[in-house]
Symmetry: C2
Subunit: 709 residues, 2 copies
Amino acid sequence: MHNNKSVVRKILDEVKSAGRDALTAPEGKLVCDAYGITVPQETVANSSDQAEKAAAQMGFPVVMKIVSPDILHKTEAGGVIVGVKSAQEAADAYNKIIANAKAYKADAQIVGVQVQQMIKGGQEVIIGAVTDPSFGKLVAFGLGGVLVEVLKDITFRLAPASQEDALSMLDGIKAADMLKGVRGSDPVNRQALANLIVQVSNLVTDFPEISELDLNPVFASKDSAIAADVRIVVDFSAKKPRYRPPEDQVLASMNRIMQPKSVAVIGASNEAGKIGNSVMKNLINGGYKGHIYPIHPSADEIMGHKAFKSVKDIPSEIDTAVFAIPAKFVAGALIECGEKKIAGAVLIPSGFAETGNHELQEELVAIGQKYNIRMMGPNIYGFYYTPANLCATFCTAYDVKGSVALSSQSGGIGMAIIGFSRSAKMGVSAIVGLGNKSDIDEDDLLIFFEQDPNTKVIAQHCEDLKDGRAFAEVARRVSKKKPVIVLKAGRTSAGAKAASSHTGALAGNDKIYEDVFQQIGVIRARSLRDMLDFARGVPILPTPKGENVVIITGAGGSGVLLSDACVDNKLSLMPMPDDLDKAFRKFIPPFGAAGNPVDITGGEPPITYKNTVLLGLSDPRIHALILGYWHTIVTPPMVFAKIMVEARDEMRVKGIDKPIVASLAGDVEVEEAAQYLYEHGIPAYAYSTEIPVAVLGAKYQWARGAGLI
Amino acid sequence: MHNNKSVVRKILDEVKSAGRDALTAPEGKLVCDAYGITVPQETVANSSDQAEKAAAQMGFPVVMKIVSPDILHKTEAGGVIVGVKSAQEAADAYNKIIANAKAYKADAQIVGVQVQQMIKGGQEVIIGAVTDPSFGKLVAFGLGGVLVEVLKDITFRLAPASQEDALSMLDGIKAADMLKGVRGSDPVNRQALANLIVQVSNLVTDFPEISELDLNPVFASKDSAIAADVRIVVDFSAKKPRYRPPEDQVLASMNRIMQPKSVAVIGASNEAGKIGNSVMKNLINGGYKGHIYPIHPSADEIMGHKAFKSVKDIPSEIDTAVFAIPAKFVAGALIECGEKKIAGAVLIPSGFAETGNHELQEELVAIGQKYNIRMMGPNIYGFYYTPANLCATFCTAYDVKGSVALSSQSGGIGMAIIGFSRSAKMGVSAIVGLGNKSDIDEDDLLIFFEQDPNTKVIAQHCEDLKDGRAFAEVARRVSKKKPVIVLKAGRTSAGAKAASSHTGALAGNDKIYEDVFQQIGVIRARSLRDMLDFARGVPILPTPKGENVVIITGAGGSGVLLSDACVDNKLSLMPMPDDLDKAFRKFIPPFGAAGNPVDITGGEPPITYKNTVLLGLSDPRIHALILGYWHTIVTPPMVFAKIMVEARDEMRVKGIDKPIVASLAGDVEVEEAAQYLYEHGIPAYAYSTEIPVAVLGAKYQWARGAGLI
């Protein structure tokens, strides 16, 4: 569709020069026309006579509305009369509207009364656009009416929205079935409605000065989608764009910082208990193979490494400088790092924005930008990058290598990540503290992890996204390649309030996060444990090739709970084809239930588990398996675990690899079996039917978002 | 309100003798009048002339509707015309309705055309009553309209419903705000609406033959609630009441079964691997002090105990018989138990209804009823009752004594309960398998545990409630004294389908379970882990005395997630009073955030945790504490744990005991600290912010349901 930008430009220029912050209805109509947004026939009358004639010409009924730049809320002003059915009524309505408007605001400039074709029938919907402080332009969609307002049933997408995004919005509201035709009403024209959404999103993208736009109501029928009213609010104050280095530069810096050839420790110390001592210890004991340069005002040597007074005294190139000095000395040392052309500063010290000292933090930001040195923190525990055996942190060393990269905005949550990872033997590639996020942000990490061959899955805890738009742009691309899991804290109003007092950041409207994450393919964790379980399980699962999930269980009771969990996690239980049902029945007792779940019944020997699982893996109609194990003497936990890994391996040899998760019901020995299964690529959980299914659900959510199924 | 039952009785008798299954509109109106259910003025016209006059008399507009016992769906038949505005329109409408009705069903008996005062304005709502196969009569409430239908926004209560129940329904729909007046509309008259709900629930309770009733729409305004249309469907086929012994008899039997002086093991065996051998071993090794009588066709002695050929040969009284023989021998042995007047049979064997052998199970039921012997199972693992050191099961012995009584319908879930309990050191009083529930049911267990001094909390897994009404009646009473936690599996349609193939039971509409559980004060667990965590944590928490919750955290990031979890679990974060804020600030660094959460900041020494927690416990405005611990060298995990228990104990001595839960973020040492805290009465979880808050939420939910806060 060709959009007539110059028409819109001209109108906006006029509004700007008139010092107005909203468009009149006729201006709104012209803007809609320029972008192919269908509106009803209309004209502006300046007398009751004109109103009569115009109405007669376009056919009754008509709607009549005041046109005044000084009256924005027309209904409140008594400036709207609907259902005008005859010429006489049109004349009367004209007079009444003018009188009401004058009563409402005596000095209002009155342009006239708009006479508009009244669109009837179909479903009333609302399409709008808003400007979010973090995500920028968003397009919104919902049904019209008070009830929808009460239920807050509205959905958002980043603008510009694609046709596919727009169509997903029609399905994205709770009342989506209303659009499909209920009680004999016609379904709406989905294409027409989607076009309107796309065009609104294009309009606000092309003209950022449009801060708010509402098409309310839009009448959606089986033939068309017509916007009966348009409201456009503008804001011409220019926003300062956020400083952001180009992506290749981000990547070059992040590569040096995360996999440094050499690390300087500013504030290194021989004294146990000091942060600078812990950092040195972790670098050395962690097995880091690069050069370590302690920086100390007086010492000659620290923990066996020659010490320097300043980074500038070090003869060779430095990639990463870890700061372990009090806040007040950081700026000075940072300038030296800049002069030394160090790529990154890991700012462990606290005492900046989080304590209210915003000036000191802004000073660091200015230095960083001046010298092109990227800063992690301040107010962080540092970071781990296990492929380089790098523990650039004052916490204890971490050495379970693997493919998950985790980050946290909060130090406390970082410690929980470390503890859980160690306890659950979760293999990680990196754990990064972001703290005050004066500079390095979630999107910088995404850019690095995207191309890091050691990272398969990225899991991030955050309380705010300082630049949601930048995050979304990067995450949308990265999530096509690697699952991105985000725990967005401050979901609720109480949580957001706590977040704002904790980080000084304004946590945004949670529904916007929810919808944008969905749009860009980010998996949202609802809780800390969810994030950790997803991070642990998702990378070891192969990608499913289709939606058909089958449950094979020894415990009928587990089968019921696993089925509930499938629905909760949007997994599709395959209706069992007759031939496959028969094939399963061959392996199970006559009173076992085939169908889905396949209930092999308790007390079966290992071979029954194996036969049914082999069948499930080999049949091409099945894409993923959920196993429900029941502890018995006949098939003890470790026997089950080993035979399952065997079955999976047998099929892998044949080139078949499907995701399998397991729920183990039994005495404490099932814990060892669950760990064995996990370590062999089958996420398995003792005493839980919901966690394994949630992990599989997260993998599916990713695969769908990435367009792989 | 005096209800005129005789009027209703007379009408229903007429309907019954006419062989009809629904009431006509005029009959419906008379029934409403008899129960004080306000309906509009109306009359039945038999000519267009009569219609004209009647309409003019009651005032326009009117609604006109066909009256015919043969036309139930009046709108479909073209038998309804609304908004009749004049005498002429009334005459025309009469003729049109009659014509439409004849066209719809030529041989329909036509009584006339109802002319009804048209109620306008206010909010349209629906009040109805249904008959659920498990719960019996339920009253339903929702808003009117298609959108509400699409959103399935309807709420149920057991009938009869109290005024309080009815008022809770008005708040129980998602669109509750619509009733409070939105966009300038008036709030509805809540009393009038609640009265209508109560009267509908009384009507269907008094007349069980009313199987369905709909007041749709009801116009609720600020003055009144008027039912504009009533539809009543009847079912005169008598239901056979379920066999159920009187409650004192249930209790007497359950007391003997659960705490027997003597146990017979039918099918006891010396041969390792046999179920009858495992049961003997568990009875002996579990430390049971009563008499054990093995029953065996030929052996003289089994595992040191004199064996008998039949229970009838045993000279003394027997309380409980554990069955470990094949299904086909069960009925015979059960008759002998009956003749011996044994109180209960624990039917471990499978091969009954769960394998399709319903006849065999029905045979047992008949024997049980004849001899008044209560049966647990069949198809179960047996049961544990730790106060009597009784392990009447073939699973391994369980010996961590405590105050939670658990039960499961499924054996697999029972094994998960045992494993989790042992692993998490959860103290239990009982674990009971219910299996096929041929007889002993969740409500029998509730009756026993209600008065069992060893049980403080009851947690039950079930897939169906064979007699939901009986369960509800008992649970409503018991939950006032002890928390009752239920994991209802088969929540979703897929889960319900799996449950029905697994147990042969029809899992009901989940929304009904949801609402009824709420009404009777039962805490609903959403997942297996939730049930287990609630069972473990709820009994050790003291009951809160009010709604004010305060978070005290060392990690700001945990504070944010804990706040989110408070909202998710319907906990109220207390707005911090100024004086208390100042008092907290005295103990924390200047950059710490008071308010709620109280963020004491990381790196604080133990005394800061202690001082703030002591303050939180001592201030009478605070009713519960949530602690967020952050692992540091300054305050290691076990130091934190011990000092928290100390603080709690110091306040207990002063007579102050408030619920405290804790979330521990840190390295693996926090796991030991969490266990220490749990064992000392503070439910604490490593790497999770959501579980401790959910546990506190469950305690609060119970306390509210029991009317304690």
